[in-house]
Symmetry: C2
Subunit: 429 residues, 2 copies
């Protein structure tokens, strides 16, 4: 957290009243909305933690407008946050669009001074987390998210880029420190110590929170992950790839909100997705009206999680085989049959290392959602605190084991099996 | 290699004739030299691969002047190289001076436009490599170089810096891509494939060069190291820390020429020093006039190598214990007796991982000096090609084993022992 609220010449937070006038000055947006500004309906809908979000509808069509505030919306002016995050979000969105096409919203306009992005209005898409809480089936998601991760991570890595291009990307994202610091503090540090911002289901989970703060094995493990987050510039990360950063319908998936983007360790993005599926898996015991009612959906969540990792792994490997254009592992070193076989074995070993990272980061993400500041509505919407605490205790227990005994989890199938086991064996928090 | 020779407004390569006039315009330098420009003696002494180097002596004192050329001096205009390397060298020198004081030459003046640094004239210092070839004893070196590495690496890492400061350094050095590319190509790639620039003692080592190009285990190992070099931004590296980048007397050590500086994996610097000691160890069989004449010096080289690593490890650990100011491993997570013990164990584990990296990078550095473009005079000055090839074959054999069976080398003592064993067992190339 920086000390003071940023000011910027030409910056002013928009209101529904000012926004229509502003948008009417942008021909491309005017064309999309159609009619006259007086006919446009503007509503502020931001329910995230950080920004203003408006939906603007005209006679022809609509747009979404996202504007950064110079502070954390959820907390207020006491927690300043730089406007530059819109710059990084725009840069990441542009790169993601180039690499994945329609898996991100189209950008209609970007205003650096106003820290404001006008983008495609996604309708009738909803936030995935809400859909999963309601046990909605998304048959395309596993395929889409594994494509998104494989393409954005592969093509911004040393496997695909020259060192020169890669270093230019590192420099371009290096300034997004304030957003990275949120991750560093809230995910890798605060849940493991007494911190003002921590919260958890209390008093039920008080013993867990206390044990987690004393668990030196866990604290060493999470600190190693933090070091990796700080020093491994493997690829351009989305940086906040949870199910709240996905808007979708059963037919169409869009990944939004990459303002935490920077060049970091790939396992952080992949782990975020896995973590959110595991949390959702455990949460249904708090949502179902009679025990077992959601057994089928629960199993579907685990099956999707398996498909996401196996799909990601297969697609990433395939991109590597098809596009060995980077400075790492130059094809000229691996000519001939023996070379090809050795390189293929190394590709598999590379994915195994990435799997290990993924497990650790997934565990860190699960823990922070239960013992840290920012929680998931998957769990928060469970009103019965005892039931919620039981779901949470199961997630914590699995996450701790994944982080400390990473080597035991040799495949995603074993993770799914462990989740089932924890759920069936832990009767209560 | 970029395609064209860089031009820059205001840049012109200096000559002894122009340099005195230029320096006379810099009051600080004028004061050091004393007298009038007409009394100054300017000589060009550059014997390195890349730059112009002048020594200027006046009635009072002297200075050294280093100027980048827009191409590789050794090769000529067919190999362009950006002038910006003087910028990165100046930045690294400044940082190293802040962290290590008199272990680097003092900077008197820096001219960005001319890509020129005026610095302390080191007299009667000589290039360490020449001193070691002559079996000169340097009683202070192990202590000085281990201090240099411990302080420059520790204080530019996530263990000492905030993430914000660290990312700013990453961005500041990210543009030094042309120099990094030299390392990427000449160390991690070319020696393992047919490349125009490769050379070796031929025909004696032809079978070695051929075997190295076919050795898939080795090529996978060196490619993993290259990936680490490309993606691990652990600390500010010197980037070219061989015994040719050291000027010294038995009493005084100075580290020069950090134009390859960037934020990379620490083991690369430490490995460079170890590699150069091993090469020097093997080289004395080519220099001694009767067998065994240099036995004592040889053992001294291995003893210094051991002191360098053990000194580095102890000093780095101590800096960590005394200055835990970085965002990695925050002390607040490791309060209390159990926390302190766990953190200390993790510090040791951290150094073990760094040791593994060091071994691999050391091996890569040894191989490139024998099968790649740039060789060491330790070996090149051996005129009898059979004797030279035997020294080189031993170094190659040890290096290959270190890189492929890294796990067998659990300590620096074992590396020294392995060097002795290879030397005594391999009678000829």
């Amino acid at each position: 957290m920086s000390a003071t609220i940023e000011t910027r010449k030409g910056y002013a937070p928009q209101t529904p009243a000012t926004l229509a006038a502003y948008l009417s000055g942008i021909p491309a947006v005017r064309m999309i909305l159609g009619g006259e500004p007086a006919q446009w309906r503007v509503t502020e809908v931001g329910d995230g933690n950080l920004n203003l979000v408006f939906i603007v509808k005209g006679p022809s069509d609509g747009v979404a407008v996202k504007q950064a505030l110079p502070y954390v919306r959820l907390v207020g002016e006491s927690w300043p946050l730089p406007l530059s995050r819109a710059h990084y979000e725009h840069m990441a969105l542009t790169e993601q669009a180039r690499l994945t096409g329609r898996l991100v919203p189209a950008i209609h306009h970007y205003d650096e001074k106003l820290a404001l992005i006008v983008m495609e209005l996604l309708e009738p898409h909803i936030i995935m987390r809400r859909g999963m809480i309601a046990a909605t089936i998304y048959p395309k998601f596993a395929d889409d998210i594994s494509t998104f991760m494989a393409r954005t991570l592969y093509f911004t890595s040393d496997l695909a880029l020259t060192a020169e291009k890669k270093k230019a990307m590192i420099a371009a994202f290096a300034g997004n420190t304030a957003l990275c610091k949120i991750t560093e503090d809230l995910i890798f540090t605060d849940p493991y110590r007494v911190a003002e911002l921590n919260r958890w289901t209390s008093p039920q989970l008080d013993p867990y929170a206390a044990r987690w703060r004393e668990d030196v094995e866990l604290k060493v493990a999470v600190s190693r992950l933090k070091l990796k987050f700080l020093s491994s510039a493997e690829a351009m990360l989305h940086g906040d790839l949870h199910t709240g950063s996905v808007m979708l319908t059963p037919e169409d998936t869009r990944i939004i909100d990459p303002e935490f983007a920077f060049m970091g360790p790939m396992g952080f993005d992949v782990g975020a997705v896995i973590a959110n599926f595991l949390i959702n898996y455990f949460s249904h015991d708090g949502h179902e009206e009679r025990p077992g009612e959601r057994d089928k959906y629960r199993e579907r969540v685990l099956a999707m999680m398996e498909q996401i990792w196996t799909g990601f792994r297969a697609k990433f490997l395939d991109l590597w085989r098809q596009n060995p254009t980077g400075d790492a592992y130059p094809p000229s070193l691996f000519a001939g049959e023996a070379g090809a076989a050795a390189l293929e074995a190394e590709r598999q070993a590379y994915m195994d290392r990435l799997w290990t990272d993924t497990l650790g980061f997934a565990a860190a993400k699960m823990i922070r959602r239960i013992l840290g500041l920012a929680h998931n509505i998957d769990l928060e919407l469970i009103t019965d605190k005892d039931r919620r605490a039981t779901c949470e205790a199961r997630a914590l227990t699995l996450a701790r084991d994944m982080m400390v005994h990473t080597g035991d989890y040799t495949s995603i199938v074993i993770v799914a099996e462990a989740a089932r086991k924890v759920r069936s064996e832990m009767k209560s928090y």
